[in-house]
């Protein structure tokens, strides 16, 4: 049995979602046994937070084959929602979090309608423009956002339980990713999911079979925006401080890199991609001034030698070895 192939189900969904979800849940449960300090919890929480955003973007890119270079814009909306809501509007943090997700969905719907008509490079540039625009708004509306200096994110309180500490955020982020993965796997094996994957291969054939391509693209764009918004809210809350960089261009590129590096259309790939791009910079600090060069070389090497992304490439290689 090729275990990695089972971990790579998004492109070839089966009924057995649990084959992926149960090991993932066990992994999440056991991982803290390796943690010797709060720092590990924090890094792992960040990995899962970015994995949520990457997974959402993977639905758009890996499923429907549509690129977005502006998804950090939705992270920014989520992050500023949990900041501005309680600070300026007196809205409770949890409610602000939900409002942020809803606002991201509405913005994605309004922005997506015109720009999802565009294809490939044109869509990439249009989404890029959207991300830059969001970052500019957060930078310029200093009265609300604190401008380029950013602002403090109020803590999240559930009932009387004040959520603080890396440990709590590890569990919130990891379980959220697990739920996000379950939803993504459900989508893969559903009428909408099949239609999206069909669009990826041939829009013309999908249309001729009755698939409303524009509508399906819009739906997945909205869903992926909600994933990014939730990740952005968590990111603001765990850091306790937020600047417009959360929605910046580099963030968007980072999300795309996570998707491609981990593997387009792979749930676990999103987690692996996020892990590589969150952990490596931390691990590479031993290279001091050269850490960015080393990071770039590693990413380039991965794409040269595992060109379908880490998880799908390893799954395929393992499958071949078994077959011999």
């Amino acid at each position: 049995m090729n275990v990695l192939a089972l971990f790579d189900r998004l492109r070839s969904p089966q009924r057995h979602r649990l084959i992926l979800l149960i090991p993932l849940a066990v992994f999440i449960l056991l991982l803290p046994l390796l943690f010797s300090s709060a720092y590990y919890y924090r890094v792992a929480a960040l990995v899962f937070i970015f994995a949520i955003a990457a997974l959402g973007l993977n639905l758009l890119m890996g499923f429907a084959g549509q690129v977005s270079l502006g998804h950090a814009g939705f992270m920014g909306i989520g992050a500023y929602a949990v900041t501005i809501g309680p600070t300026h509007l007196g809205i409770p943090p949890l409610f602000s979090f939900l409002l942020g997700a809803a606002l991201s969905a509405v913005v994605a719907f309004l922005v997506g309608r015109p720009i999802l008509r565009l294809k490939e490079h044109y869509l990439a540039v249009a989404t890029l423009g959207f991300g830059v625009l969001v970052a500019i708004v957060f930078t310029n509306e200093a009265g609300w956002t604190g401008g380029p200096d950013g602002m403090t994110v109020p803590g999240l309180t559930l009932m009387d339980w004040s959520i603080r500490g890396a440990g709590a955020w590890y569990w919130i982020a990891a379980i959220s990713f697990l739920l996000g993965a379950a939803l993504a796997l459900n989508l893969a094996d559903s009428p909408t999911g099949r239609a999206l994957r069909a669009i990826h291969d041939s829009e013309i054939a999908a249309r001729v079979l009755g698939v409303d391509v524009a509508k399906k693209k819009l739906i997945v764009f909205v869903v992926s925006a909600v994933y990014a918004s939730i990740a952005g809210s968590y990111f603001g809350l765990i850091n306790g401080y937020i600047t417009p960089d959360v929605s910046g261009f580099l963030r968007s590129i980072e999300l795309v890199a996570m998707v491609v590096l981990g593997g387009m259309g792979s749930v676990i790939g999103s987690l692996v991609g996020a892990a590589v791009l969150v952990i490596l910079p931390q691990a590479l600090t031993v290279f001091h001034d050269y850490e960015h060069i080393v990071l770039g070389l590693i990413v380039m090497s991965v794409m040269i030698f595992l060109r379908r992304g880490i998880v799908p490439s390893l799954a395929a290689a393992l499958g071949e070895r078994r077959a011999k």
């Binding site: 009428p191 994957r197 001729v208």
Partner: protein, 262 residues
């Protein structure tokens, strides 16, 4: 009763008139073939009828409704389906998943239900899978259902496209060169498949270069040359029509008449 009708269709690409005032009526339950030399405008006509290419002039009628301005997905929902000459397979999907996409217009679950995998989605998936398996069996691909579509041989891909179109339960099916690139055995299979489709009450509009296939299965044949209508009639009418013979073979009639004329 006319199921599909073209009324004065004209399309030009730059200076080339791909279709020039083409009109025809298709009666229900027949095989209606459109033939003509390469570049006669057959595929263009298919693209116009299926909503992929708006005509410069003229109208398309589907069951008495003017569908000229409709998008392909709207036509699909009214019961028009088609295959493609240059295959349009969903290569990352399995064979059966390809056909399951063909069921899309019969699927009625929303995005929230799909994300949560509500029982309605599970039931829908089961129904879709059963109908898709049935369509695959009709073209003889049942054994390959779980294979990745990208690994299929060319002739099987042709049949997969037909199964996918059939799964949508069309009233009218446009087949764009289903026998192109097929060997004689595969061609006979395609012929049987077409007979089976018509036997199930589906009207077939066929574009095909293989004259033996066309002459065998067609109830009516519409001949195009350089975007214009040359003739229309039964196989016998067309075979004896001098203008057609000239367009295909030049003035001298040869033994190739019965063979595959490309």
């Amino acid at each position: 009763m006319i199921v599909l009708s073209a009324e004065g269709l004209s399309v030009a690409f730059g200076g080339v008139r791909a279709a020039d005032n083409v009109s025809f009526d298709v009666e229900p339950g027949i095989v209606f073939s459109i033939i003509g030399p390469n570049g006669a405008g057959k595929t263009t006509l298919f693209n116009v009828i299926s909503g992929l290419c708006p005509p410069d002039d003229g109208r398309v009628w589907f069951y008495g409704e003017n569908v000229t301005a409709l998008a392909p997905e709207q036509l699909a929902r009214r019961g028009l389906s088609r295959t493609f000459q240059n295959l349009q397979i969903f290569s990352h999907l399995t064979v059966i998943e390809n056909v399951m996409v063909g069921r899309h217009r019969h699927e009625a679950t929303g995005i929230i239900a799909d994300l949560l995998h509500l029982p309605a989605v599970a039931r829908q998936n089961r129904r879709t899978r059963e109908a898709a398996a049935e369509a695959l069996a009709r073209v003889g691909l049942a054994d390959l259902a779980q294979r990745p579509a990208s690994g299929l041989a060319y002739g099987n891909l042709k049949r997969l496209e037909i199964a996918r179109a059939l799964a949508s339960e069309p009233k009218v099916l446009l087949l764009d060169e289903p026998a192109a690139g097929c060997n004689p055995v595969e061609r006979r299979e395609i012929e049987n498949i077409i007979r089976g489709i018509v036997g199930n009450g589906i009207t077939v509009v066929l574009v095909e270069h293989d004259m033996r296939l066309v002459m065998n299965v067609s109830n009516r044949i519409h001949v195009l040359a350089n975007g214009r209508t040359l003739a229309e009639g039964t196989a016998a009418d067309v075979r004896s029509n001098l203008a057609v013979i000239e367009a295909y073979l030049g003035v001298h009639r040869t033994q190739e008449t019965a063979g595959a004329v490309g």
